[in-house]
């Protein structure tokens, strides 16, 4: 009797011991980072309801901080800019990334070199990107001056100091930085399309364009959604790039929410309002991530049912 019990228990225990490193590896960091993230988020939410200014203090002011942030010009400009920047940046980086991937997919020579070149900007920090582009785009020393020196003196490219166009300089720099990322994902997707399907399309008489549009691209849409979500969360939290490129200027024309948060917390010493702006940013982020999570959930449900 006892024999039976021990033989039954032994594999279970040894299994536990054997898998212990795995559990430790996964759960300890996961719980630590989750606790970290959640505790600081809760703390920030709490601060956003307190009258904190120079240092955190307790107290309750209700929605006063939120109302003040939402009523400020800085936040309104930042929110409009975020909409414009988010949409333009995501769409344009998708298009450039996909175009680059399709061009690279033509079994061309030197693909590895080109792929590295296109991916390389991703390895550069946003501060560096911002600084370099701020020189390139400065009308006094950059591209405009170069073209003038080449003889085309009526050439005009002053977006960086033009308050209506300055937000587009951020779009340009951000696309330069991250369309390589979209390209890499799309390229992987293109390469994983079943060659049999492509052959079948060819046998049916589809030309290369038609093959792409009707056969290959529709298989890429899960990757497209991943790219959109990753790029959007970058767009929402964009800080270092803007700080180095325009620092919210000219004037306050290129404010973005993350800049407003930093400005309120660390420049204006209004911790409560800064926290409120940070919570608003979190809400914007959730507006993107929750539908994505729901979509993933539905997908998985359908997969298991099928």
């Amino acid at each position: 009797m006892s024999n039976v019990v021990s033989t039954a228990a032994r594999p279970a225990t040894s299994e536990m011991v054997r898998r212990l490193p795995e559990y430790l590896m996964i759960w300890v960091p996961l719980l630590l980072s989750a606790a970290h993230l959640i505790s600081f988020s809760i703390w920030t939410i709490w601060i956003s309801f307190t009258p904190s200014t120079l240092i955190p203090v307790s107290g309750w002011v209700g929605l006063r901080n939120y109302n003040a942030v939402l009523a400020s010009r800085n936040w309104q400009i930042a929110f409009d800019n975020l909409l414009l920047f988010g949409i333009a940046f995501v769409l344009l980086s998708l298009i450039t990334g996909l175009a680059l991937a399709i061009l690279l997919d033509q079994r061309i020579r030197g693909e590895n070199v080109l792929r590295t070149i296109f991916l390389y900007p991703l390895a550069v920090s946003f501060v560096v990107t911002g600084t370099v582009w701020s020189w390139l785009l400065n009308p006094g020393i950059g591209i405009e001056k170069l073209i003038h020196d080449l003889g085309w003196s009526s050439f005009h490219f002053d977006w960086l100091v033009n308050r209506d166009m300055a937000i587009w300089t951020i779009v340009i720099a951000a696309i330069w930085q991250s369309s390589g990322f979209a390209m890499a994902l799309f390229l992987a997707g293109l390469r994983s399309v079943d060659t049999d399907i492509i052959r079948a399309a060819q046998i049916d008489g589809a030309g290369p364009i038609r093959t792409y549009v009707r056969v290959i691209l529709p298989t890429l849409w899960p990757i497209t959604i991943t790219v959109v979500v990753v790029q959007l969360q970058f767009a929402i939290s964009a800080f270092d790039l803007v700080r180095a490129l325009t620092n919210g200027g000219p004037g306050i024309a290129t404010q973005l929410p993350a800049l407003v948060v930093y400005d309120l917390m660390f420049q204006r010493s209004q911790l409560g309002r800064g926290a409120a702006a940070a919570v608003l940013m979190l809400l914007i982020l959730l507006a993107v991530l929750l539908p994505y999570a729901a979509w993933r959930y539905v997908q998985r449900r359908q997969a298991t049912h099928a």
């Binding site: 120079l54 240092i55 800085n74 002053d158 200027g249 004037g251 306050i252 024309a253 660390f266 420049q267």
Partner: protein, 428 residues
């Protein structure tokens, strides 16, 4: 040497410490030590505070200065972190209304005894003294004074415009700018694109038009004054100034344009007196430019006060307390103030320092004279753009309006007045 403290000795020590007045105790046998933080890390500012540290060491002290380069706010972030951690520096840079605001979050040192012993109060401008004794007690000491609305004139641009006198009123200023423009000076106003830079253009305009309106609107935030006719006039004058500036500066500081200014490609620079130190440090000669008080429509100089100061944070360690006492004495010392101002280009806080000697420039003498005149005519006011008039939050909200107005020429002066009033209302 290992330090061993028995309980009895500690008790005896604290009893003795309690029995003595704070600063007599501090000057006892311990070697004075000072932990200090400031933003002054490089250039003439860095040189000046290093020289101050040398003097501190000559007096037998241990000087532990940790500079935090960048804007004042970055220094404040370090200060905030240290205060929250319960380990404030013995002494830190802080100025204007921030002294009162920060003194509420951590205990400060009562300096009344040392200030009285030095007879210091008699030689400090009263408006300035008030900022450093928020609860009626001295807790901070001003170190040096700048005017933020000094007018620097490029000699070469003046020659081009055939002008030989600095402008007195805004009308003179506008005339001279037109003349310079006509004579081929590309940008009659030399500028940077930072927020403070734009703020200075406004405060110089308003204070020059009416120091009374400035006091009411910028310092006291009087609602009626904020919507008054002088405000609109100031925005009109500021628009004229911005039209003469180089729009391509982006967010860069004024200092990048100093060469063009000296060369006569740019004409006039409205800047704090510190620009003299920067110009000198950059290798330009004092006769490349003229320094005059900023334009004032009533003819008497208006002085927009900016004063750097040290605040002293309470510490229990006897060596730090001794260090604070020594530092306070040094900062009030006329010889030290002379040394400091001669390096940075500021003027001393003490009104009894003689600036006729060698080592002082004409610009500094003129600044000191302007301060004396302005105090006599009640025209010495606190700078808004450099955080002397209001706390950071309010200042930043107001500068938002100025910087947008400087860069967006479709905003009309009357709109700017409304926006400014709203910004003040919104951050109160």
């Amino acid at each position: 040497m290992p330090i061993t403290t028995t309980r009895r000795r500690l008790l005896a020590g604290s009893a003795a410490a309690l029995a003595l007045p704070a600063f007599a105790r501090a000057q006892g046998a311990v070697k004075p030590r000072l932990t200090a933080i400031s933003q002054w890390s490089a250039g003439s500012d860095g040189a000046a505070i290093t020289a101050l540290g040398k003097k501190f060491e000559e007096k037998g002290g241990v000087w532990q200065h940790s500079p935090v380069p960048g804007f004042t706010t970055e220094m404040m972030n370090k200060l905030r972190a240290q205060i929250i951690a319960g380990d404030p520096p013995a002494c830190s840079q802080l100025k204007g209304p921030e002294i009162a605001a920060w003194s509420k979050i951590a205990p400060t040192v009562d300096l009344d005894a040392v200030v009285a012993a030095a007879g210091y109060e008699k030689v400090v401008a009263p408006d300035l003294a008030k900022l450093h004794k928020p609860g009626g007690k001295w807790i901070a000491l001003p170190l040096q004074i700048y005017s933020t609305n000094m007018l620097f004139l490029s000699k070469r641009a003046m020659d081009k415009a055939k002008a030989d006198k600095p402008p007195v009123t805004w009308a003179d200023f506008n005339d001279l700018a037109e003349k310079m423009k006509a004579a081929g000076v590309t940008f009659p106003v030399a500028n940077g694109g930072t927020r403070a830079d734009d703020g200075q253009k406004f405060e110089a305009s308003l204070a020059g038009i009416s120091p009374t309106a400035y006091r009411a609107a910028a310092m006291n935030l009087d609602k009626k004054a904020l919507e008054g006719p002088e405000m609109k006039a100031a925005f009109v004058q500021m628009r004229k100034i911005t039209n003469w500036m180089d729009p391509n500066v982006g967010a860069q500081p004024y200092a990048i344009n100093l060469k063009r200014f000296v060369d006569g490609d740019m004409g006039m620079l409205i800047m704090g007196g510190w620009a003299q130190g920067v110009l000198k440090n950059a290798g330009f000669k004092l006769d490349d430019f003229v320094i005059a008080p900023g334009p004032s429509d009533n003819g008497n100089p208006v002085f927009l006060l900016n004063a750097d100061a040290f605040i002293f944070w309470q510490r229990k360690e006897p060596d730090l307390q001794a260090g604070q006492a020594l530092m306070a004495q040094l900062v009030m010392d006329p010889a030290i103030q002379t040394m400091y101002s001669q390096i940075t280009g500021s003027i001393p806080v003490r009104t009894d320092v003689d600036l006729s000697g060698e080592g002082w420039s004409d610009g500094q003498r003129r600044t000191a004279a302007a301060l004396k005149d302005a105090v006599a005519n009640n025209q010495a006011v606190l700078s808004l753009a450099h955080n002397m008039a209001q706390e950071n939050g309010l200042t930043a909200a107001m500068i938002d309006v100025f910087t947008e107005y400087a860069k967006n020429k479709t905003i009309k002066p009357e709109e700017a007045v409304t926006r400014l009033a709203e910004a003040v209302e919104g951050s109160r």
